[in-house]
């Protein structure tokens, strides 16, 4: 489980190590198997030639029943330094398969039947069968700790006895231990070389994956920017996954923006409905109060103090009416359609403010004909946007106004340089009294938005890198309606 949760950074080098180890074990095993065969073959060949020599030499002592000479012959291989090429015991069996003589007379005394020497020899006796042995052969019993080379002693076709040479199976062990030791050393060396390589290689392989997974892990809390993810670019699987993720992220971002826009416009619509109903509720009693004041002033002959008080009340009520009127944006159908002259008038209107801040106003109007749009509303929208832009600009800055026909409507773009609108304000930019600091009552953009909505247009704000741009698109009305 722990392994499964491990990072690919470690998993890949670990797997490489495991692969190296498995390879080493398999190769060592193969070498050992081969070596085992080789050693066995060598041993059997040596044992067979020694067996032939001994069995030929033993013919005369056996014929003469000369036990001692037979003993001297089989004992002779044990006289040297290397005892009998690894043989532990040599014995001669008579024709009844009793010990005729052995090199260890104390343990294998004369005349004792082979099967009474112990279970291993009883097995050997069974393996030899009943017929007299006439061929050289190796007897390797699975449960025995030794194997036996068996050679017949034959003279003139007569079976005189059997030579048995016993070799310990552990004879191979020192050789095997040395092979395994060497293999382990080589494996270690290979690992020493391969580990850093596989480590580096593993990290290289794992890094794009890790980055991908980190990037994906952040989705949910936020939608990470492409620049933050540093995804691996290639045509392989990881690269394709990265590309796919990028596309997903960009779709997610679009969706998020869309949702944000929908929420904002829904909120604005709700605010608009609320505002309209409140305004109506206020306007009705307000109208009554103003009427009452007017009537009293005309017919009541108020004294000077009362007249001053009434005047104060009337001014207050009028201010309320004005505010409510501003909130309650209503499209009043105007008589004439928008003409280039209307637009020129706007230019004239804002120039004093432009000069006051020493701004550079770029006036780019590509409208030369009369448009089927209500001139009052369009003028108010453009004026609001321009005044906002001028106000947001720093002295000596630049304001650009661009109007042209696009997609069956009028596209108005107002751009200024200056401190951008913070992202958290963007969502609530068009709400009434929002950002009502400094100059203005905070209803300019609210009104603009309401007007655009009533004209079934679209308004969009973009504020990045010191530039804020408002784009308004107003569809032209049908010619007949106009």
């Amino acid at each position: 489980m722990l392994l499964r949760n491990l990072s690919f950074r470690y998993k890949i080098p670990l797997r490489a190590t495991v692969l190296v180890l498995i390879t080493a074990v398999l190769i060592t095993g193969a070498i050992l198997a081969r070596e085992y065969d080789q050693v066995r073959r060598d041993l059997f060949e040596n044992a067979e030639s020694m067996g032939r020599l001994l069995s030929n030499t033993l013919v005369t002592p056996l014929l003469h029943d000369d036990v001692w000479r037979a003993y001297e012959i089989i004992d002779s291989p044990f006289k040297g330094e290397e005892s009998a090429l690894g043989a532990e015991l040599i014995m001669v069996l008579d024709t009844q398969r009793r010990v005729y003589v052995s090199t260890q007379p104390r343990n294998y005394p004369m005349l004792v039947p082979l099967d009474e020497l112990g279970p291993a020899y009883a097995d050997l006796n069974r393996a030899l069968g009943n017929a007299p042995d006439l061929t050289h052969r190796a007897v390797d019993l699975p449960n025995a700790a030794q194997f036996h080379m068996v050679a017949p002693i034959v003279f003139d076709g007569v079976h005189l006895g059997t030579l048995v040479m016993e070799y310990p199976k552990s004879l191979f062990i020192p050789r095997f231990v040395s092979i395994v030791g060497r293999a382990a050393l080589v494996t270690l060396l290979v690992l020493v070389v391969l580990l850093p390589v596989s480590w580096y290689w593993g990290r290289r392989m794992a890094d794009p994956l890790v980055r991908l997974s980190e990037c994906m892990g952040r989705v949910g809390r936020e939608i990470p920017l492409e620049s933050e993810c540093r995804l691996y670019e290639s045509k392989d699987e990881i690269g394709r996954a990265g590309t796919q993720l990028k596309r997903m992220l960009s779709e997610l971002r679009q969706k998020q923006e869309l949702e944000r826009g929908v929420m904002a416009s829904e909120r604005l619509a709700a605010v608009g409905r609320l505002t309209a109903s409140i305004a109506h509720e206020i306007n009705n009693p307000l109208g009554g109060m103003l009427n009452a004041l007017s009537t009293y002033r005309r017919h009541g002959n108020p004294d000077a103090v009362t007249a001053r008080t009434l005047s104060l009340l009337e001014r207050g009520l009028l201010q309320i009416k004005e505010t409510v009127g501003a909130l309650l944006v209503e499209v009043r159908l105007e008589g004439h359609a928008l003409t280039p002259q209307d637009l020129h008038d706007i230019h004239t209107l804002v120039l004093p403010d432009v000069h006051a801040k020493s701004l550079d106003l770029v006036w780019d109007i590509q409208v030369t004909q009369t448009l089927a749009l209500p001139s009052t509303q369009v003028r108010q929208i453009l004026l609001n946007l321009l005044l906002n832009a001028i106000q947001a600009s720093e002295p000596g800055g630049k304001v650009k106004c661009r109007l042209r026909l696009r997609d069956g409507g009028l596209l108005m773009e107002v751009r200024n340089r200056g401190v951008p609108i913070p992202p958290e304000q963007m969502n609530r930019l068009f709400e009434p009294f929002f950002g009502a600091s400094g100059r203005g009552h905070g209803l300019g953009l609210w009104v603009t938005y309401q007007l655009v909505q009533q004209m079934e247009g679209r308004i969009h704000v973009q504020s990045t890198h010191g530039t804020t741009e408002f784009r308004v698109h107003l569809p032209l009305r049908d010619q007949e309606a106009a």
Partner: protein
């Protein structure tokens, strides 16, 4: 070595040189057969002894060794050997066809014993009776101490080796009887007491694995015999050289290696006991 012994040795050497040089025969070597009645497997020693004898005799000496007493005795009788060191038993059997040349002196007497030995592991056996049904090693069928004596003892009990022992075998030398008992091939063995004693001096690790259970009465020591065909002059020369051995430094050192004190002319009667045993066992 004093001047007298030196002069005598030189005189003997000179005499044999002069006497042993009949026309045309001066290069003929004296052929001496050896049997394992002593430790005959010390080649360096044998070369030294041979050279010593050759120098003293003034003629080449050849030592001849065979795998059994029988072959040496046969060669003496066939006159292919001039001299031989054999056991008392073949000597009494073939007395008519060989002459007694000299008898070695062991512990000051021309006598030795037969030892009955068992394995060192065997702490129980105390006599031949305890070895019934066991495996027994003899040295040579023609050995007194290594065969005849045990046969005689069994015969006295109304037994024979084939019945009494489970199995017997010959090792063809006393030394190897000791080895056979030491490695556990045989449970017991009959061995020349002089050989066992000498071996225990040179190779105590071998005799240490054996235990002497019984020592026989004394018998005439295995004698050196001459072929009847050997000329009297050669006989006398050889006898004289042997007798003189203790009296010169090299000879004394060689005798010390042999673990012997010297040689005497000896008497055929020394071997009467052996002849008696051979007769009793029907082997004479």
């Amino acid at each position: 070595m004093n001047r007298r012994t030196l002069l005598r040795a030189l005189g003997a050497g000179l005499a044999t040189t002069l006497l042993g040089r009949p026309a045309g025969a001066d290069a003929a070597p004296l052929r001496i057969g050896l049997t394992p009645v002593f430790l005959d497997d010390q080649t360096a020693f044998l070369n030294e002894w041979r050279d010593y004898l050759a120098a003293r005799l003034g003629r080449p000496v050849v030592f001849v060794q065979r795998s059994s007493y029988r072959e040496i005795v046969d060669e003496v009788m066939a006159h292919r050997l001039d001299l031989a060191w054999v056991c008392g038993y073949p000597f009494v059997r073939e007395q008519a066809r060989m002459r007694l040349l000299a008898v070695p002196l062991y512990l000051g007497r021309p006598l030795y014993r037969s030892y009955l030995i068992v394995s060192g592991d065997d702490g129980v056996s105390a006599s031949l009776d305890d070895l019934e049904g066991r495996i027994f090693a003899f040295s040579d069928p023609n050995s007194n101490s290594g065969h005849l004596y045990t046969l005689y003892q069994l015969q006295q009990r109304g037994e024979n080796p084939e019945r009494f022992f489970r199995r017997t075998f010959f090792t063809w030398s006393h030394r190897r009887v000791v080895e056979a008992v030491a490695v556990g091939m045989a449970d017991g063995g009959a061995v020349d007491g002089y050989v066992w004693d000498t071996l225990s001096r040179i190779h105590p690790e071998i005799t240490g694995q054996t235990r002497v259970v019984a020592r026989s009465e004394t018998f005439g020591f295995p004698p050196l015999v001459a072929s009847v065909s050997l000329s009297q002059a050669d006989f006398d020369a050889a006898q004289s050289v042997l007798m003189e051995m203790p009296r010169d430094e090299v000879g004394a050192r060689l005798l010390h290696k042999l673990n012997l004190d010297g040689f005497v002319e000896g008497d055929v009667a020394l071997f009467d006991d052996i002849a008696e045993m051979a007769r009793a066992t029907g082997r004479l």
